[in-house]
Symmetry: C2
Subunit: 190 residues, 2 copies
């Protein structure tokens, strides 16, 4: 019988030789849950005493987001891209520069091997906008420590990244409360 | 400004009157991330000191799942349905009875108002299989404490539930590593 999230073939149901390796996971699509699911994975991995970090390519407008508070409470590191940056910034050149600078930091974090799970949150956008070449990203992922898991979130995941990734999920909106005049709820959506 | 997951219209970008209310959220579809995203919301809400609980309609075959360890580490309550139950059980009558008994417990948890966020994990299945009437579930949700958020996960969410819910996301598989002979990875997928 099928068992949900668990209805994926699990370790118990798998036969034959299986490879043990770090995964490249992409959460994309227009729906909610891309960052949230990545955070769920971080939390789960932290539960197993994995070393985890979230590197964010969106600077949120407030430091009070639930995930930041939660991460802080359990000592999980989150690093956001350049101070005061927003996606509505009129200065796109500056935005591109900030994204590239943050990517340089990310590359170091990846290369050190200090982390078991790394989330590159909203990282699809700089690739989508052509600020960071997808080919370079794939090269970095290919050369990363073997057992390291990398999770990339955001809309418009480039096709080359999807082709390279091990696990790709698309989150689609079926119904959204903003359409019905309901506010984003603290603790739930941010 | 809009911020990422977050690139959904956020509280700052919305004009006009907005309703403040507890949401009914459904994570469905055949992909990964349904339970994981719910866990991410729990974690985020916990970060804001909300009282949260996860009520699981799948008894996982091991108690060592990362989310259970993580939840335990931060003191978040998780209650699984009947002992020794698995979805591989051959005795479907017993399974249905266990699901119904667990639902009775859930109804109490909902009614007390002790929790701000309640996850009913894999709860779509007992509805899908006709063990628990969707109409009854919707009645219970209608009568729940006003500000309480309820998240329901699982494949095959019944249409009536989707119609009633505030936020529905479908998680779809684009690419799955099991198809390529890679094992489920501890800390990432369980």
């Amino acid at each position: 019988m099928s068992t949900g999230e668990s209805s994926e073939p699990g370790p118990q149901s798998v036969t034959g030789p299986r490879i043990n390796k770090g995964l490249v996971i992409v959460n994309t699509g227009n729906g909610k849950g891309k960052t949230t699911a990545a955070m769920g994975v971080l939390f789960r991995a932290w539960g197993r005493d994995f070393k985890v970090i979230m590197l964010q390519f969106i600077k949120h407008s407030t430091a009070n987001f639930g995930e930041q508070r939660a991460a802080q409470k359990i000592g999980v590191e989150m690093r956001a891209m350049g101070d005061g940056f927003t996606w509505r910034s009129k200065d796109l050149d500056q935005t591109a520069d900030l994204a590239r600078a943050h990517w340089e930091d990310c590359k170091e974090v990846i290369a050190t091997g200090d982390y078991d799970v790394i989330v590159l949150d909203e990282f699809t956008y700089p690739m989508h906008y052509g600020w960071i070449p997808v080919e370079e990203v794939i090269e970095v992922l290919k050369n990363r420590p073997e057992m390291q898991h990398v999770i990339i979130t955001g809309r418009h995941a480039p096709q080359d990244l999807i082709d390279y990734a091990d696990l790709v999920t698309e989150m689609n909106v079926v119904k959204h409360p903003y359409h019905e005049g309901i506010k984003a709820q603290p603790g739930i959506e941010f």
